[in-house]
């Protein structure tokens, strides 16, 4: 399965994603500079974490106008798999590929720690290798991860079962204490209506090997590989 990782000025998890896809998952991966428009015919595009354009104006606000994002939008419109991690999630929201927005963390601090997330939906290309309600230990590292959407949008997310992962405690309880950044309804990651675009604040790229403290991120990567097999 072929992956392409977009690279913006200020991306800093692009090589983490490249490493996981190539060295841990054993799949071919191309790096695509933000000024390029050719995605190199991937099966899945990864929009990585980091601080694209220094987070100027709003996180992801300027990156969404990079030439590569037009190609990513076209690719997504055709049903291609697009996963945005952390800053990638913020970029996908700014680009309108996912609904809502990521606000400043409720406590105003940048948070870098392991969190637990509960898999709420398993019929997505990103969670099909998980059991319903499975709890994953995956780190976050962000200052703006506080998911917000208006009440109408939230209802739509719920009706269409687009809330894919939510912050929880180690047992899977959705408590206020386990919500690190004040996200609405403990939302950690969502997909679009067609389910081919997925964004999340936690880093499956930083949790794919035991040496890093958790290999739970592999469930996400394995799901993507299984999704491709399922299609073809």
């Amino acid at each position: 399965m072929k992956f392409s990782v977009t690279v913006f000025p200020g991306s800093n998890c692009d090589h983490d994603c490249e490493y996981v896809v190539r060295n841990v998952m054993g799949q071919p991966v191309e790096m695509v500079w933000h000024k390029e428009t050719d995605l190199r015919n991937p099966d899945c595009v990864v929009v990585p974490g980091g601080f694209s354009y220094g987070d100027y104006l709003r996180t992801g606000a300027i990156a969404r106008f990079s030439p590569v994002m037009k190609s990513v939008a076209d690719f997504a419109a055709k049903g291609g798999l697009v996963i945005g991690i952390c800053n990638g999630f913020q970029i996908l929201c700014e680009a309108g590929l996912l609904p809502g927005a990521l606000l400043r963390n409720k406590g105003l601090q940048f948070i870098c720690q392991n969190v637990y997330i509960k898999v709420e939906q398993t019929d997505t290309p990103y969670t099909n290798a998980c059991k319903p309600g499975q709890v994953l230990k995956i780190p976050i590292a962000h200052g703006e991860g506080n998911y917000f959407i208006d009440p109408e949008g939230l209802k739509k997310l719920k009706d269409n079962r687009q809330i894919v992962v939510r912050y929880c405690d180690i047992k899977g309880n959705l408590t206020p204490e386990s919500n690190p950044n004040g996200s609405l309804d403990n939302i950690a990651g969502i997909c679009n209506e067609k389910r081919n675009v997925f964004g999340l604040m936690p880093h499956p790229d930083r949790s794919a090997e035991d040496i890093l403290g958790s290999h739970d991120g592999q469930f996400i990567w394995n799901s993507i590989l299984a999704a491709k097999v399922g299609v073809s």
């Binding site: 104006l57 606000a61 300027i62 700014e94 927005a101 409720k106 917000f148 959407i149 208006d150 004040g182």
Partner: protein, 84 residues
């Protein structure tokens, strides 16, 4: 001479503003007990070529705010236009 556009971007009332709340607490602790609300926003100054009509400046200002300066999901904007 050129057109000066002053853009104010603020969070919508329904959006939580933890930064504003923190500043308000600080002000209250400093003794400004009468301050009952603080909302933080962004201020941007744009300059346009003088040759444009005021109507064009406003039209482009709206486009710029809709596309880039404000995120309609969470923010609203207003701006003033003056020639100087």
């Amino acid at each position: 001479m050129s057109w000066h556009v002053s853009v104010y971007v603020t969070l919508k009332p329904s959006v939580m503003d933890p930064q504003g709340a923190t500043v308000q607490r600080a002000l209250n602790q400093m003794g400004y007990k009468a301050v009952t609300g603080v909302r933080m926003g962004k201020f941007t100054e744009l300059e346009f070529e003088a040759g444009l009509s005021e109507e064009d400046v406003k039209k482009q200002g709206d486009e710029i705010c809709d596309k880039l300066l404000a995120n309609p999901n969470i923010e609203s904007y207003r701006f003033t236009v003056e020639k100087k």
